[in-house]
């Protein structure tokens, strides 16, 4: 046994491990475990704040090595321009390979969020993701989803087993005990891994603040050209946005709580242009972060349905 005097000092230091320290250590453990056990991992990188945190954790986990897997961006061609800028910059800063996949069928058919409704998500994102994972031969894919986002996520394991058709069967999940993750799969099967499972939106923001992680400027309030559609404030990010005859975008001070395809992502009116101010607003707000996303409102339990079909 260690000498009592030394144990005392250890105990004192131990109480210094905060919830962010413990979350960080847990995520790093998960990232390393996948790299140790999977043949060919990949990290889904959506350029949002959760992706930014996940990428940062990967750099920490494998330092001084470069994270030994590529980043994968499943592009829809409809993301905010500022997201494309940060995507390329962040991948370069990490020294990691960036794979950009655009579903060729969606591209050929000109699928867009204005004319095609939920087919936009199905084809660009769900199908595009499946194509990219298959093409890369990836047997493990990291995603930045958190359990506090949505009820179907709350029940998903950290290592989420997917059949050869990439579907999710909530009843066939492997029990996860302690920190023992079973990453064994057969040929053709894969796992989706969620290192941020136990983080909340507030944890993410606090960690971004603590670590000084760069995020897309759209998370901070600034005057931007906007229009209103179905109760959502949308940003007119480029000239593909169909305006009604005579309609002029209105400049509003807005920011985004979550980032996706710009025609599908609602902004909030805000003056919060610093991290503490954003966190302050988030804590005082009365709506959840996915509220600005059109995808969840399609139907009851729509996220669970999408996951069964192969959505992340």
């Amino acid at each position: 046994m260690v000498a009592p005097a030394r144990a005392g000092t250890i105990s004192a230091r131990m109480s210094g491990l905060t919830h962010l320290d413990r979350l960080e250590a847990e995520s790093i453990y998960i990232l390393r475990e996948v790299v140790a056990e999977a043949q060919s991992p990949v990290m889904l990188y959506s350029v949002g704040k959760d992706s930014a945190v996940m990428l940062h954790l990967a750099r920490k986990a494998f330092y001084p090595a470069t994270p030994p897997f590529p980043l994968l961006h499943v592009d829809t061609t409809w993301k905010f321009r500022a997201m494309y800028d940060l995507r390329d910059k962040a991948a370069a800063a990490a020294g990691m390979e960036l794979i950009v996949h655009r579903n060729p069928e969606a591209l050929a058919a000109g699928i867009n969020p204005f004319d095609h409704g939920s087919r936009h998500t199905d084809l660009w994102k769900t199908e595009g993701l499946k194509q990219a994972l298959k093409a890369g031969g990836f047997d493990a894919a990291f995603g930045g989803a958190r359990r506090d986002e949505e009820k179907a996520r709350a029940k998903e394991r950290i290592f989420s087993f997917r059949s050869a058709s990439q579907g999710w069967d909530p009843k066939a999940q492997r029990p996860e005990l302690w920190n023992l993750y079973n990453a064994r799969i057969r040929r053709g099967e894969s796992i989706r891994v969620f290192p941020l499972s136990n983080w909340t939106e507030l944890d993410i923001w606090q960690y971004i603040l603590r670590e000084g992680i760069e995020i897309v400027p759209l998370y901070f309030a600034a005057p931007r050209p906007t229009v209103e559609r179905d109760g959502l404030i949308l940003m007119v990010d480029d000239d593909r946005f169909p305006l009604a005859p005579g309609e002029m975008p209105v400049e509003r001070s807005i920011r985004f709580r979550t980032l996706g395809c710009y025609p599908l992502t609602g902004a909030v009116e805000s003056a919060a242009d610093t991290l503490p101010a954003v966190i302050q607003e988030m804590l005082l707000t009365t709506t959840s972060e996915r509220q600005g996303r059109a995808i969840d409102h399609d139907q009851t339990a729509s996220m669970e349905k999408k996951k069964r079909e192969g959505y992340f």
């Binding site: 919830h19 709350a154 005990l177 064994r184 136990n198 909340t200």
Partner: protein, 637 residues
């Protein structure tokens, strides 16, 4: 109540708020109880009272409550937690769900686990990571079978803080006598199974009584309300920090020739630069040269932190090894007594090979027939042949390689394991080590002076195990013999183990029942492994009908050394050939357990080589096998 309404501070001074919340601690707890004890309602209430529910979620909740709720026009908090569509219809929680909320002092992670008997595996899953358990009891019903089961499981998995939440007090008129009776009843049971202590709280998830603050409805209750109690429970990490240093190596970090670091999460104790450490199980000692992190080198690190260690000397160390304090290293052994909780529909097959994963170690393992299973209601020890879904038993576990361990009571990281089915890859059991059966003579393996590499080098070849599998009469022995002749002619050192011959000697005590077939293959696998260690090319010709056993043998050898050769003959062809007249006897019922007739043959799904005997002659097949094997070698050179 001010504790749970931080809005004022947030609005007035966000920086002060952020400072406070940066240094919050984290507590994980589990809620468990019978169906209808009101778990989901209680969690919904905690989320609601800690202001974790947003307005849009609340609107959805109100709409759902009216549509499918059970509380009339009132909010049904259970709907907040019951996530999946299927269970909304059934009205029960069927999986582990995780919920998050925070107060000024703590971030909480709640595992909501099912009360339904058939889902015990989810309870064990949820309970394995928590610091505390809230066990719900319906005040009208008192202690039920499920209460005892869940308390036993919580205690079994080592949860040290138990809270007995006597719920629905509003439905018994907030009567102290009801509460006292239940507590007395539970205390008797708890003492009987070795629970050192628990905290009992009378409350109502529905009305919120004694949740965030003491309720006026129960002035007789002098203890803490639930949430303040959860805020005050000590987190278990202090215990881990008090033990000697241990870090299971998770991943070897080798970005270039100049850096070799060992990445891992510290399981126990602390480490400083300059500390003497021992690599277990090899037993080599060295010292810590650097503690590397992304944020710069550190002087020391403690349990719970994920770091990368650089050692002063170039010693062998890889994933699965444990870097430990040099003067008090953990033990390594191959035979253990353990408690097993069976989590899978397919019951334990004693003697069958499973993967055992503990910390960062994965080894092949077999389980002996259980010494007993525990009746969770009476804690009586019952005899059993096997373990079925939800069974809890004590059994001996044998591993194929030395496992670095500590008793589970001392370390969850070095004493808790899972068993994985080699065929389906399902996680089939959770295990907790009591102690090693026989201490290894030394902590270190006896390292032999002539290594297996040296043996192989001397023979000028890479060891291989050419494993022929197929039906009786498919031509395994014929082709294997041809292959060996060719190898011999090429100057290779080989040896052929034939099924029939082995059964005349080494395995003459074994019959043909499933358990005997498994033991037969296990022994052959071990013998073949020794011969590979000696540098030979080993050929085996056994029906070996089960995938799990073939995979077990594959796992005995270094990657790539096991070559599975499937002699694929349709049953009709083998039967028509019937060289030994066995099929005729099996059809006549004279031979029991005959593969293909009365016992299954599990064909390889991805054999390394497949020989179709309808289209390929034995001579051509043998030629192809030799080419395949030599071809692989020539690539290596």
């Amino acid at each position: 109540m001010t504790v749970y309404t931080p809005d004022a501070l947030i609005a007035a001074d966000i920086h002060a708020y952020l400072d406070t919340h940066q240094s919050k601690s984290m507590l994980r707890f589990i809620t468990c109880g019978s169906v209808d004890d009101g778990k989901s309602t209680l969690i919904g209430r905690l989320l609601y009272d800690s202001k974790t529910i947003f307005e849009d979620q609340l609107r959805q909740l109100e709409a759902d409550s009216r549509r499918v709720g059970t509380q009339g026009t009132n909010i049904d908090f259970a709907l907040l937690v019951d996530g999946l569509a299927a269970e909304r219809e059934q009205g029960i929680t069927i999986d582990v769900a995780y919920r998050f909320f925070a107060t000024e002092k703590r971030k909480f992670i709640v595992a909501d686990t099912p009360g339904h008997e058939q889902y015990t595996r989810n309870m064990i899953t949820g309970a394995s990571t928590v610091d505390a358990a809230v066990i719900l009891v319906d005040a009208r019903k008192g202690i039920l079978t499920q209460t005892r089961r869940h308390s036993f499981l919580a205690h079994l998995i080592g949860i040290r803080h138990l809270i007995l939440a006597v719920n629905k007090m509003d439905l018994v008129g907030h009567d102290q006598a009801v509460f006292d009776d239940i507590v007395a009843d539970y205390a008797k049971f708890a003492a009987g199974i070795g629970i050192a202590g628990f905290t009992a709280i009378p409350l109502s998830g529905l009305t919120g009584a004694n949740i965030t603050a003491r309720s006026d409805a129960m002035p007789w209750y002098r203890g803490p309300a639930l949430l303040p109690h959860l805020e005050a429970i000590p987190v278990d990490t202090d215990r881990a920090a008090m033990t000697p240093f241990r870090m299971p190596v998770q991943w070897v970090n080798r970005p270039d020739l100049d850096f070799r670091g060992f990445a891992g999460t510290i399981a126990g104790g602390s480490v400083r630069v300059g500390d003497r450490v021992r690599i277990v199980p090899s037993g080599r000692t060295t010292s810590i040269a650097r503690i590397v992190t992304f944020d710069g080198d550190r002087g020391s690190a403690v349990a719970g932190e994920a770091v990368t260690l650089v050692l002063a000397d170039e010693v062998d160390c890889s994933r699965g090894d444990v870097i430990a304090a040099a003067d008090s290293p953990p033990e390594a052994a191959t035979q253990f007594e353990a408690t097993l909780v069976w989590l899978n529909d397919a019951p334990l097959v004693p003697g069958r090979g499973y993967w055992l994963k503990m910390g960062t170690q994965t080894v092949g393992a077999t389980v002996q027939p259980p010494a007993y299973v525990v009746d969770v209601n009476t804690q009586a020890h019952l005899s059993a042949e096997t373990l079925a879904l939800n069974d809890i038993g004590v059994a001996e576990v044998f591993t194929e390689a030395a496992l670095v361990f500590a008793p589970y009571a001392q370390s969850h990281v070095l004493g808790g394991f899972i068993l994985i089915d080699r065929e389906t890859n399902a996680t089939v059991a959770a295990g907790m080590i009591h102690h090693a059966l026989r201490r290894a003579q030394n902590v270190h393996w006896q390292s032999t002076h002539i290594s297996r590499e040296a043996h192989a080098r001397q023979k000028g070849q890479s060891p291989r195990l050419l494993w022929f599998t197929g039906l009786s009469g498919s031509g395994k022995s014929t082709i294997a013999n041809l292959v060996e002749k060719k190898l011999h002619a090429l100057g290779r050192h080989s040896f052929l183990l034939d099924g029939d011959n082995i059964r005349h000697g080494l395995n003459r005590d074994l019959g043909f029942a499933d358990a005997d077939r498994i033991e037969n293959i296990r022994r052959v696998g071990e013998v073949a492994k020794l011969m590979c260690d000696a540098g030979l090319i080993v050929l085996t010709a056994f029906i070996s009908p089960f995938r799990a056993e073939r995979e077990m043998v594959r796992g005995l050898l270094p990657a790539g050394e096991f070559v599975e050769i499937f002699i694929d003959t349709p049953l009709a062809d083998a039967e028509a050939r019937d060289v030994k007249g066995l099929y005729a006897k099996a059809r006549a019922g004279e031979i029991k357990h005959f593969t293909g007739i009365s016992s299954p043959y599990e064909a390889p799904e991805h054999p390394d080589i497949r020989i179709d005997t309808r289209t390929e002659s034995a001579e051509a097949a043998a030629e192809r096998i030799v080419e395949h094997v030599l071809g692989v070698w020539s690539l290596e050179l």
